[in-house]
């Protein structure tokens, strides 16, 4: 028998601290598998956010930086500009990317920075105990929208993939989910494509991954996966929003 599935080399042996059924662990592995398959671990520099994945620098087996909340794209911008032949990725949650870090992500995309953004959308602030995020769905109860998010009060959930795909500098923008094995595999293909877009120097790339936070959703891990399907995907359609071809 031969091994067909194992821990990628681009992850360390450290046990992750995520809650049972949390999607962060899956997404980490997908990024690492792509690094392995492209043989770029030693050329990759990752920037992790403030959020539940703040400790991602302990899990990725490559050079890593930890950013201030929302600022990862600015940090990655400078590294990539100074070291253009390295692979740069940021790993960011929805609070990190779509709220406090909105300026940094929009401008990194507008400038066409040749970095790859892994955007983990779990509709709320996981780390701080499940507060409302810009991505919280209408009607969704969080600790700071205790009566459910209302458009009149809290506005509408933000569609980051759509928003960023309108920037000329964006070369690859895709939204995927990790709610079942097929979607997990699609997510991996998207991440790989994003890294390849970076390799070709085509511009900014981002994969928005619809993810589960079973803990703050108050659901079992399996029901969390179902919740992505039933509630998130209808509002946040999956697919590629921008694919810039080579000239």
């Amino acid at each position: 028998m031969k091994k067909v599935f194992q821990k990628p080399e681009s992850l360390t042996d450290a046990k992750n601290h995520y809650c049972p059924g949390c999607s962060h662990g899956i997404i980490h592995r997908l990024v690492a598998e792509c690094m392995d398959e492209m043989n770029i671990r030693e050329k990759t520099i990752g920037v992790c956010p403030v959020g539940c994945s703040v400790l991602a620098y302990d899990y990725f087996n490559c050079d890593m930086l930890e950013a201030a909340h929302g600022r990862a794209p600015a940090i990655a911008t400078a590294i990539k500009r100074l070291l253009p032949d390295r692979f740069l990725f940021t790993y960011q949650g929805d609070g990190d990317l779509a709220s406090i870090g909105m300026a940094e992500i929009v401008h990194a995309s507008a400038r066409g920075e040749k970095i790859t953004v892994i955007f983990v959308n779990n509709t709320l602030y996981g780390m701080t105990g499940g507060q409302m995020a810009p991505t919280t769905l209408l009607g969704q109860v969080t600790t700071t929208s205790p009566y459910g998010r209302k458009a009149e009060n809290e506005g509408y959930p933000m569609k980051m993939a759509e928003l960023l795909s309108s920037n000329e500098g964006s070369a690859y923008i895709c939204r995927t989910a990790v709610n079942n094995p097929a979607n997990i595999n699609r997510t991996k293909r998207a991440i790989k494509k994003a890294l390849q877009v970076q390799e070709k120097g085509l511009g900014f790339s981002m994969v928005e991954v619809l993810s589960a936070c079973p803990t703050n959703w108050g659901l079992s891990p399996l029901d969390g996966m179902k919740w992505i399907e039933d509630n998130m995907i209808p509002y946040y359609p999956l697919g590629e929003f921008k694919v810039k071809e080579e000239q």
């Binding site: 028998m1 046990k15 049972p20 962060h24 662990g25 899956i26 592995r29 997990i184 891990p221």
Partner: protein
């Protein structure tokens, strides 16, 4: 003989049960007789003979608990 074989790093398991749910062959279940260092009943191959080595369990596992081998 099963076509596939699963190996577990049981101390990493948080008993989220996603692998159990998504395994198309119903190979997996919780090991009710064991408590791992994280305090969970880890997963176990209750019906190893049915494993095809499809690796879906590994794909959905957030914690790198599972290694899969195939013929």
């Amino acid at each position: 003989m099963a076509k596939g074989r699963v190996k577990f790093f049981t101390d990493r398991c948080k008993a989220c049960g996603l692998c159990i749910e998504f395994c198309p062959q119903d190979v997996l279940g919780f090991d009710e007789h064991t408590i791992n260092t994280l305090g969970y009943h880890p997963i176990k191959d209750l019906k190893p003979e049915l494993c095809t080595g499809c690796a879906i369990c590994g794909v959905v596992c957030p914690d790198l608990v599972i290694e899969v081998e195939r013929e």
